[in-house]
Subunit: 411 residues, 2 copies
């Protein structure tokens, strides 16, 4: 069985390896603190007999050789980098549970036929480059020479190539890219980052899909004027146009697609921005996420149609553009079944669900069978110093992961 104490030590040690920040943990990729975290994990991997390897872009591997050198690898892990002022679990929990599964394999004295690799990816969060999923995309092959020069640090402006070289690695894409036929399966364990499992009282989430994302960029154009001299019925108030549209779309999503889709406006600029001026311009974003393509199409349709109506009603111009369109990624159904079987066998409460966030697993799914195990996030908190996955749930997660690895190995 999984050992909570070992996982507790790993989580708490990594929590403290942090750049100075207002609160929480901050360990962006390619920083001295990131290196310190990697070195800690290398030590723990070696301590339990794993071969330690770092690829050319900074992904970390702890390898347990299988008895059949021809059999493809089973890989489990998640990312080791964090957002700013984050908690200790996002990404890290998956690497720690994958390592715990390796320790359990070692302790079982019953080696696997397949090689098992514990993976800690780099640059999954957009913290440093405004570009997510860097390590996994190098492994999968969609990142190469072009990205080494085009991806640049948000703060220092250095290219990814310069950053990786300053970090002490070559960055050679060939040294990170993994062959499709050499991996049997990838399993990522991750905190849910939402309240669904906790609210349902379940310990194990079996992810069926990683959501599709559409980012709509909306601009509303009105006429600035004096707030006291223009009657309400002849205004061209860009702010009111924007607020009416956001309220309508948000209500529509909540009413028709609660639990199926989310709509969020996180960024909004009102111009010229004076208390005593009717706004002339309002730009905002609508983040739409769902695994239901019909829901996404309907939400975009509703937004565009409602924008036309609001434009007439509020006497403004509204332009809606889809700036980002990413399809949803179904996870591997066989792995889903194995996770469910393992949770049932261990007597853990479980449910099938979708992931509202993107993960390395959706990149690996392009080339390998890939699945995800979710653990409950306390109060749904994420990207927050107080994010918490209970260690009892970490134990359950590692046990499920171990069972799935065994089942995959024995197929």
């Amino acid at each position: 069985m999984a050992d909570q104490k070992r996982m507790h030590q790993d989580i708490e040690t990594l929590r403290k390896i942090s750049e100075p920040c207002a609160a929480g943990t901050q360990r962006p990729s390619y920083t001295p603190e990131y290196r310190e975290g990697v070195e800690y994990m290398k030590g723990r991997m070696a301590e339990f007999g794993l071969e330690v390897r770092e690829d050319t872009v900074g992904n970390l591997f702890g390898v347990l050789r299988g008895t059949d050198p021809e059999a493809p690898s089973i890989i489990s892990g998640s990312h080791l980098d964090s957002v700013k002022c984050s908690g200790a679990f996002d990404g890290i929990a998956g690497v720690v549970c994958a390592l715990e599964a390796a320790r359990m394999i070692q302790e079982s004295k019953k080696p696997l036929k397949h090689t098992y690799e514990v993976l800690g990816t780099i640059g999954e969060e957009g913290t440093r480059f405004g570009q997510v999923l860097i390590g996994s995309q190098f492994m999968e092959g969609s990142f190469g020479e072009a990205q080494l020069d085009s991806v640049k640090g948000l703060e220092d402006g250095l290219t990814l190539r310069e950053t990786i070289r300053n970090y002490g690695l070559t960055g050679d894409p060939a040294g990170a890219c993994r062959r499709q036929d050499k991996v049997k399966a990838f399993i990522e364990l991750h905190a849910e980052q939402g309240p669904i499992l906790e609210n349902a009282g379940k310990s194990i989430g079996i992810v069926e899909n990683i959501v599709a994302i559409s980012w709509l960029e909306v601009s509303v154009h009105g006429v600035a004027s004096h707030p006291g001299t223009i009657p309400m019925d002849v205004r061209h108030d860009a702010g009111v146009g924007a607020f009416e549209l956001i309220c309508a779309v948000t209500r529509y999503a909540a009413q028709h697609y609660n639990g199926i889709a989310t709509v969020t406006t996180g960024r909004l600029n009102l111009l010229p921005g004076s208390t005593n001026c009717i706004p002339s311009e309002c730009d905002f974003t609508l983040d739409i996420r769902t695994c239901d393509e019909a829901a996404r199409a309907d939400l975009i349709r509703y937004t565009v149609e409602t924008a036309k109506q609001v434009a007439v009603k509020c006497r403004v111009e509204i332009n809606v553009q889809e700036a980002v369109h990413r399809e949803h990624v179904p996870t591997d159904s066989h792995i889903e079944d194995l996770v469910e079987e393992a949770a049932a066998k261990l007597g853990y409460s479980h449910m099938r669900m979708n992931s509202g966030a993107g993960h390395d697993a959706m990149i690996f799914k392009r080339i390998w069978p890939a699945g995800m195990i979710f653990l409950p996030s306390h109060e749904g908190l994420t990207h927050h110093p107080d994010e918490l996955v209970a260690f009892e749930d970490m134990e359950k997660g590692a046990n499920v992961l171990y069972e799935v690895i065994r089942m995959l190995d024995e197929e």
Copy 2:
């Protein structure tokens, strides 16, 4: 009769006396350009036989002595300063029409019994100090030594005292303050700054009230989180709470108080402000203007009550505070009647109305009978390079003003 050509020359000359700006005219108080504008007006005043005087804080006077040295003055004018990238009429039109009335008095060869003073106030707009109505408040007496030190330039940080001294004046409040018993009446002619007269097809607006203002500062507190992992029905989205409240209050004002009150949100900040983050905080302002105290009370009541409902519905905290509360100012009813009589006598279309903007007249009304004449603003544009008062309307305004001065003089 008023001479359009003289007024056209004054307006167009002053339009060109401007700080460099993207478009339009920019002549903030106490700048070299403001001085240049004052010197032009001094020259025009002297050209038509007025005694020219500048008080200790920069208000400009052109004085026509009356035949009775004991009779109190009749004063007309407006402000000579502008907002940034403004048009040529806001404020200036009133000074030019007051000067034209003086020229008409001179040309009539029939001197007034009362002394007539053409006034160009300084610092009416908040452009330079974020503090409006500076010159008129020195004249009225509510500005004194304290304000000389407490009012500071938004850009240079200099005190009003330093600014006035750098401009070449003493700033001595006693040299600007006017005795209450030495003025019979103040009449301010101004562009309407809105579309009411133009839409009604009227040439002369008789102002009955200058609106009351309440500035509500509203802060909404929610919980930041991931936009894809939190279902719509359990979010604490500060943005949605804010938008729902603004939409409700704006609709309520439009439905129940159109033409009576205005509600405007010109400033809004959404935090943390990322496309992929549910907002934790939203601060915004509600500018409420009306001459109907019951409407103001009802709009504030509706805002506070709706905030409570929205807070529950959207699972956020909402705090509403009235940061500014200024009562409405009724203008002098006798002057209103005289303006109406003059417009009728001259055969000009006219209507009674309220002013949605603040004006020097509301300061002078504290100590003297004060009234206002509005002229139509083309398309309601104001604080805009394209603001326009037709010169035919300027002519009508000067003629009405002249008649009113004659009637006041003959009482």
